[in-house]
């Protein structure tokens, strides 16, 4: 998986600095990652990685680490 592309998706959707995008970053842990930003993130990830996420995966994508795990499932 292209890690740089993943980080850019978070930077763009959450409007945060790339340095904040670590595996430990969880939704709701910063004000920028709310439900609205989450949907922008999903749109970014689907467009950049050319995948279509299941709704349950959209719900489960609760951290950067989790996003990597979920995306990897679609990119295998």
């Amino acid at each position: 998986m292209n890690q740089e592309k993943l980080i850019q998706c978070f930077v763009s959707a959450l409007a945060i600095d790339g340095a904040l995008v670590t595996d430990e970053l969880k939704y709701n842990s910063i004000p920028q990652w709310d439900s609205t930003a989450h949907m922008m993130l999903v749109a970014e990830l689907e467009a950049e990685f050319d995948v279509m996420l299941d709704t349950d995966d959209i719900i489960d994508m609760s951290s950067v680490a989790k996003a990597k795990t979920i995306l990897a499932k679609y990119l295998d």
Partner: protein, 184 residues
């Protein structure tokens, strides 16, 4: 027809969620949710609700078609409460509200599923023409959420409350790009 079930408000299922009338056995769970700091902090009325007050509130809902409260069901679990208050079918207005209790369902697509079900109910089942909302100015997530759902921001009063309104056309324009991610 099952005469034991209330006819108001109607049960509504869409976007993977079901809005179902609140039954007496749900009252204590709903009261606990409503009194929890995570929910209470965003309510216009932040007073603690007693069992007696909860019962009185519920009794007052019977046959009151100007107010509708639903339990939100998701994956067959109750997760929160949705409402439309001040329903005026003559003018075509109402005041929606919702809260979701489990933290894992608050900051992703689930609030949109619930809001879309509630708005579809309001506009396309009840026939309302405009929804009015009041959001506390410090509740930035709710403000962003409502704007993403198509609400227009009208202004802020001296109490730090922001008035917003939503009409069907702007709602549909906002809903459709997001609803494509709801794949149930």
């Amino acid at each position: 027809m099952n005469s034991d079930k209330p006819h108001w408000p109607p049960t509504f299922e869409r976007y993977g969620v079901t809005l179902t009338p609140i039954e007496p056995e749900h009252l204590e769970m709903v009261r606990q949710w409503r009194n929890s700091p995570s929910i209470q902090q965003f309510m216009l009325d932040q007073r603690e609700i007693s069992e007696a007050q909860q019962q009185a509130w519920y009794s007052g809902l019977a046959d009151d078609s100007s107010r509708a409260y639903w339990l939100i069901m998701f994956k067959e679990q109750p997760i929160g409460v949705a409402s439309i208050l001040a329903i005026d079918k003559t003018v075509g207005t109402g005041e929606p509200g919702l809260y979701i209790y489990p933290e894992q369902y608050r900051s992703n697509i689930v609030p949109f599923c619930v809001a879309f079900a509630l708005n579809d109910m309001a506009f396309f089942e009840l026939g309302l023409k405009r929804l009015d909302a009041i959001v506390l100015s410090h509740n930035s997530a709710a403000l962003r959420f409502n704007i993403k759902c198509g609400y227009q921001q009208l202004g802020e009063n001296s109490l730090g409350q922001i008035a917003m309104s939503l009409e069907p056309q702007s709602y549909i324009a906002a809903r459709d790009p997001l609803a494509r991610f709801i794949r149930y």
